[in-house]
């Protein structure tokens, strides 16, 4: 089995054991919630419906019958093509993220089944340098979309990203083009692509594969935008409207097909695929 499945089981189990007597405060309504209850509820606040962030592995568990049966690009690691150094060298940032998150880059890609149907999927990991898209993310997206074409399978990507990975400079920007090119090939093959936008999805990921779904879904309350709210505020020097750049705002403005609560996500995806496959 692949590296993450070996690590995945103990990580989740450990978390669940700890959870029994631990509280977590809801960012939505301020209620104190038992972590164990929260996890049983897919980390959605039972009082206000606030969706807490979950990891890529947790989405994998939530959406796929038995995780990924095969992974794509699991042996790929970020290079440092620009030899980029700011306050820290880029390879050190990667190492720190690997140690903290237990993953090797900001996306898991693979093939698995959703209600018995083969799906090629990608799930972004916001915890890994803000879910930023560098060469490894772009390559894994291309591989999963190409695998979908080869197997005549639908594709699904769960996005969570602050945008392009600055430390890879122009290469990170080119991943937008690369992923859109792969999506063109999938579309030309007549295969469905479902995009699920989770909190937050902004920048280059929104300006490429995340907004290109045949169907674009988002979780309630997710921040979704091209520019980040801080940048917009600094540019226009006025306050932003209430609920600006939330999933609800995007749905109202015609950018999303529907907003789906996490508990209904798998069923919705499954039904959509039945319509489109």
């Amino acid at each position: 089995m692949t590296w993450f499945r070996k690590e995945k089981q103990p990580l989740v189990a450990q978390k669940r054991e700890l959870a029994a007597d631990v509280w977590e405060k809801c960012e939505g309504c301020g209620a104190a919630l038992y972590v164990r209850k929260l996890e049983e509820n897919d980390r959605v606040c039972p009082d206000c419906g606030h969706h807490f962030r979950i990891s890529a592995r947790e989405y994998l568990q939530l959406l796929f019958d038995d995780g990924f049966e095969e992974e794509f690009g699991e042996s790929l690691r970020s290079a440092d093509p620009l030899e980029f150094v700011d306050s820290k060298a880029y390879p050190e940032r990667i190492e720190a993220a690997e140690a903290r998150v237990g993953a090797h880059d900001a996306i898991l890609a693979g093939a698995g089944h959703i209600d018995g149907r083969l799906v090629c999927g990608g799930i972004m990991e916001f915890g890994f340098i803000g879910g930023s898209m560098g060469s490894v993310v772009g390559e894994k997206i291309a591989r999963l979309l190409d695998a979908a074409v080869e197997r005549s399978a639908p594709a699904l990507i769960v996005s969570a990203s602050g945008g392009a990975r600055m430390q890879e400079g122009i290469f990170s920007l080119m991943q937008l083009a690369k992923s859109a090119t792969a999506l063109h090939r999938l579309a030309a093959a007549g295969l469905p692509y479902i995009s699920i936008l989770t909190h937050p999805t902004t920048g280059g990921v929104t300006a490429s594969f995340a907004m290109l779904g045949d169907v674009n879904l988002a979780e309630p309350g997710a921040l979704v935008g091209f520019a980040g709210p801080r940048v917009i505020k600094e540019t226009i020097r006025q306050d932003l409207p209430d609920a600006f750049q939330t999933a609800e705002f995007l749905e109202e403005h015609g950018m999303l097909d529907c907003i789906v609560a996490r508990q209904d996500l798998k069923q919705t995806v499954s039904t959509l695929l039945a319509h489109m496959c």
Partner: protein, 286 residues
């Protein structure tokens, strides 16, 4: 790597006076630098500007239309900065809204319908970050263009003539050939924006420009740019006519090569070109 890239590097700016990366950033932003409509005026005949996205409005930050370039009908599309404050306000300093990208998309589809090549000129600090831009789907408009360009069955040649500001530049730059003027820049983020995030001070823009490796020479080395077009000594603004002629002959040469390919071949080669853009290590093959 293609032959064009090698010849581009050979014709590159290695032997010109060395400028720092941030000095090139300043040249790329020079207010007297030739803009898209200057290139069209100098290089093209039979120019007819086509306005509007047919959905919301005409965005003056992107211009486009039919033109004859070296005896060939082409669709030219480019970012357009203003000359002076009044025109800059009209053109939003060359920062498009979604309707600008949607106009570009409409014109590319028009070119494809009639089998004409597309030439795009990139010169923007970026797509505009504003309330209306978000409401009308700036991200979707750019994303859509990337996918449409990936599947366009006619030749696309892009020239980065000034500032290549991130997604706002790429939104018209998924091309068969990407050429770049010697003092133009192309980057995932502005040096100032990068400095503000990673150095926590916009004053560190010079350091960020160095780190981002955003010059034409850098990008030719990365094979993101196929050819570097020399500028007159001191920069394009000192001799717009000579600059435009150099751009025109480079574009013509690339189009001459590209028109030999079928639509399917162009699409497949374009896919391979962008698939090759990325650097990683594979621990399985190490």
């Amino acid at each position: 790597m293609s032959d064009e890239t090698r010849s581009g590097k050979a014709a590159g700016p290695e032997d010109s006076e060395p400028l720092s990366r941030y000095e090139r950033v300043k040249l790329a932003r020079h207010p007297d630098r030739p803009f898209t409509l200057d290139y069209i005026r100098i290089l093209c005949s039979d120019w007819i500007e086509l306005h509007g996205d047919r959905k919301f409005r005409d965005d003056p930050a992107i211009v486009g239309g039919w033109a004859t370039l070296a005896g060939r009908s082409v669709m030219i599309i480019g970012h357009q900065k203003g000359r002076g404050m009044k025109e800059n306000l009209l053109r939003n300093f060359g920062s498009p809204h979604p309707e600008g990208y949607r106009k570009a998309e409409r014109l590319m589809q028009l070119a494809a319908k009639f089998g004409r090549p597309v030439v795009t000129l990139v010169d923007t600090q970026g797509a505009y970050p504003g309330i209306g831009a978000e409401e009308r789907g700036q991200a979707e408009a750019i994303a859509r263009n990337l996918q449409v360009m990936a599947g366009l069955p006619v030749p696309i040649v892009t020239v980065i003539i000034g500032e290549g500001g991130s997604g706002g530049a790429l939104g018209i730059a998924v091309a068969d050939r990407v050429l770049m003027l010697e003092n133009a820049i192309y980057s995932v983020i502005s040096p100032e924006g990068c400095a503000a995030i990673l150095w926590r001070s916009r004053d560190r823009a010079e350091d960020a420009a160095e780190a981002l490796k955003l010059t034409a020479t850098d990008l030719a080395e990365f094979a993101v740019v196929d050819e570097v077009i020399r500028e007159p000594n001191g920069g394009a603004h000192l001799d717009p006519d000579a600059t435009a002629l150099a751009v025109g002959s480079a574009v013509e040469r690339h189009l001459d090569e590209l028109v030999e390919f079928s639509g399917d071949e162009l699409i497949e080669r374009r896919r391979e070109k962008f698939y090759a853009m990325g650097r990683w290590e594979d621990t399985a093959s190490a």
